[in-house]
Symmetry: C2
Subunit: 636 residues, 2 copies
Amino acid sequence: MGSSNTVRKLQVVSPVPADIDIANSVQPLHISEIAQELNLSPNHYDLYGKYKAKVLLSVLDEVKGGGDGYYVVVGGITPTPLGEGKSTTTVGLCQALGAFLDKKVVTCLRQPSQGPTFGIKGGAAGGGYSQVIPMDEFNLHLTGDIHAITAANNLLAAAIDTRVFHESTQSDRALLNRLCPPNKEGKRSFNDIMFRRLKKLGISKTKPEDLTPQEVKKFARLDIDSDSITWRRVMDVNDRFLRKITIGQGPEEKGMVRETGFDISVASEIMAVLALTTSLADMRERLGNMVIGNSKAGEPITADDLGVGGALTVLMKDAINPTLMQTLEGTPVLVHAGPFANIAHGNSSVVADKIALKLVGPGGFVVTEAGFGADIGTEKFMNIKCRYSGLTPQCAVIVATIRALKMHGGGPEVVAGKPLDRAYLTENVALVEAGCVNLARHISNTKAYGVNVVVAINMFSTDSQAELNAVRTAAISAGAFDAVICTHHAHGGKGAVDLGIAVQKACENVSQPLKFLYPLDISIKEKIEAIATSYGASGVEYSEQAEKQIEMYSKQGFSTLPICMAKTQYSFSHIPSEKGAPSGFVLPIRDVRASIGAGFIYPLVGTMSTMPGLPTRPCFYDIDIDTTTGKVIGLS
Amino acid sequence: MGSSNTVRKLQVVSPVPADIDIANSVQPLHISEIAQELNLSPNHYDLYGKYKAKVLLSVLDEVKGGGDGYYVVVGGITPTPLGEGKSTTTVGLCQALGAFLDKKVVTCLRQPSQGPTFGIKGGAAGGGYSQVIPMDEFNLHLTGDIHAITAANNLLAAAIDTRVFHESTQSDRALLNRLCPPNKEGKRSFNDIMFRRLKKLGISKTKPEDLTPQEVKKFARLDIDSDSITWRRVMDVNDRFLRKITIGQGPEEKGMVRETGFDISVASEIMAVLALTTSLADMRERLGNMVIGNSKAGEPITADDLGVGGALTVLMKDAINPTLMQTLEGTPVLVHAGPFANIAHGNSSVVADKIALKLVGPGGFVVTEAGFGADIGTEKFMNIKCRYSGLTPQCAVIVATIRALKMHGGGPEVVAGKPLDRAYLTENVALVEAGCVNLARHISNTKAYGVNVVVAINMFSTDSQAELNAVRTAAISAGAFDAVICTHHAHGGKGAVDLGIAVQKACENVSQPLKFLYPLDISIKEKIEAIATSYGASGVEYSEQAEKQIEMYSKQGFSTLPICMAKTQYSFSHIPSEKGAPSGFVLPIRDVRASIGAGFIYPLVGTMSTMPGLPTRPCFYDIDIDTTTGKVIGLS
């Protein structure tokens, strides 16, 4: 896009100012200008204010014939709790490709969760001179997708408990009569969603009055086993006191209390459906097929059995359209789906990537981010997301920092909110070299998929040349296609030009087809073990509960789904403090759940919290609005 | 607006098709065309798709000099559970004024809650040929205001429990150190929101290290009394199992369990703040001043004490802008704030009304809806909303139906979802006449505010002329300025032309100033008793808990606030089955709470549920999407 009208030259300042100050210092272009550069006409998108637009899925039909651009996934080494700048590198790389290397490029990012934004971590728009803007709009509400997920998730949750409640007080016939009320002429009928259930039950009758008492019972009584309910409520807030709760304690609920809990919204199966779906019709089926638990007879009960799959789709109908934004240097960004690759799959959406690949076309680049270390984000990108999308990446970027490599080499613990130890601020080549075992394993694991691996060394001002060289050497010897030092945080796209060139070469020189880590037609346990082996584990240990669930899901016919491990992001193993490249450990599978609508089985590796908490002094202490200008202040 | 370019002539069909079919049969205008008719330029609003726009509050500064239009509030008689068409009449009246009577007009409606939309009641866009379109966008998400309220409400809730938790494990000094972490130079400091608390505590020191141990304790330890916490979590879903819950049962929460519950989002104090605020700066103060409970010493604890008032404002910064939509006949609508005048104040927002009054200007009309019967919606409109806005209505419309009047006259119970009794479908003038006592009391109560009252008889096809005449006669003799039969459901604006003419005359012939039902400077109890008397009560009975709360709020200096009664909408009294115009009853006040940020005291009259439930067959059974066209089906 050398001829692009939207590229904006940055005036960089040193030392680098606060993220929000950089973001506020640049006047974003009206998003219709960004859209126009992508050859999108006004009927291809809906504006949401001046700087955001939802790109309509219908664009896919129009660009069907065209070829795809190169497809680049950005993962990382095992991170410190501070993060190693993966989003920042993703944005910086795209600014380099678009604003300095004359390439058509689209960045595909995930919508941040408001939990961390107001909690510990802050926002996720990138940082320094590599950001998505307006960063406050990116970090807050965006175009409402996560709110839609929360609403849909919780409507289903309410439907479950209320159904159990109503079934407990009504006869089979009364249930049928309530479900199929008479019309003005006094006739009862099934509606569309009921025919889905009738079909599943093998009942071909079309009138309620024709059902036998046995069939009435089968149809009208879901007979949900309350202990089997895996569907939890969600909220996009770090509310630790909702992790485990007892519901139904009001007098009208007649003692039907039950223990359950809330997860953070991005961990909802509906987020996974949004990320993996390919069309409105596909989303309708996936949402209807979500399994919330079992009947007392052990049959899986779905959202459609509860009559709510259509309503969930209606709630999600706008969320399926990705949101167009821009980087500081005026290159386009599609924001879609959500983070948390530890407890979810944490990749941006299939539809955003598909639209982007067509919009950039052959020779262009789509750079998509996968959450956390390559052991979880990139692994899920390959084995789940690419499997469902049919898309083939050419290059995987692995982001590394000297800071994280020193930690893996044996440096002291890094804690968010506490000052960094001196070891991280002064030269120590040996520590860096020792830590490269972590990088090396991520490289070889990622290379095994058949893509070229480029290591992006996200440079900090305290890094020494000798340290940086050590990483380069280790990366190349571990099989990386290239390893490049980047300064996009301090310099914007200009600081990632070398990375851009390396990525381009990597994409143009792919010699192998895409290979998955495991085939789908082996058993659930064999799949889990294949992934565990890639972590360095010597074996897998299943709890009694995990065994029971695996047996049940296999019996229910769900064993051909891919696997989405819920595992700590802080180690290849299940123990966050095991840095570097641990091996020989036995991976404990505490429980196994299933996201049948999204399309994967998810084993819980050890104890994983699905609802973060707030610290004593959360980020929100600094966040306020300048009521004169209307500008947000204190957002990081 | 006879010269208006946006007015659209309807082709009406008989019998009246389903609401969604009528809504889908009309192609809405691009919302920028509606905006242009109101003399709004593109920098006055943000588009949200093609048919919705948020009108920016900054418009108020530009139109400050101009005069206001006439201000009309629409209330109703005590309704049946089916609703008597108050929104429909509001829309129909505006279609008449705008499309047939050449008036500049803006309709101000409240955003519906998604709870009822998917539960029993369905949407709230009006009905028949008097609707806001696109009705699916109106009923779903809209521009995200209620989602923003949910997010803000629950961030505050999480902040409360987490603060209690962290205070329980840390010394005063450790809390201070966490709250004021050292910067890179090792210096600790207070931030802006902390100075608010220091000021409230009367501490004028500016550095953390200067505080005495006593001051450290006062500042850093909120010492919240868990039993006093009135702040509940919210969700915009009918989830009855969340009415009463126990939280904090996870092992990490160390046994700090607590009983609490969820309300429906529109009952959040933040919704009330949104409705009553007048500017961004005013909203910042109100949100920061919200009281969540007391310290163990009995001092009120606010959102700003918790450090979160600024963050709440940031979450609400777009929600403060009302949403522009259109009626079926192309007249403009501003949608803002929320419903549920029984448990909230249930009026649309002050800012929407203020903007609208300037946009229509002198001679134009702003028609704003107040929830449920005039005993609650209109009463709160007058005594709370107009008190805060300083605006003066000229006319109050009271919507009545033959159906509801027959119920008040002694007709059999009306139950949502069950067929209507024959009494409601055949002529019975005596029943109607008997029921007019309800209408008469609403008229005299409303007239007492100094406005002219116009009764809108929302006609159904089963109503007889004799029945309709009986209502007209009763209304006039009860002091109504006029009483008009309307057929806007069947005919659109054309069916409400007579109503429009009557309203215009009523506005032009106001002879009295606005009078409130009670002054602010009397005691809380005297104010409650003034309202109870207007209900027909002979006295008020306070529970021990209510007495305690009134005493506490009076001591805390909150006794000068207006009163927002939480009372059933189904009777003037606290007993839903007491129809007509009950009198001589003693009104029981079960509890008294306070919305200090929003600015009112709210007594709970008897048992009021703040979280609706779902029936056996909720509306969602019929709601789905046509995946080929993308259109929503089955929404009612």
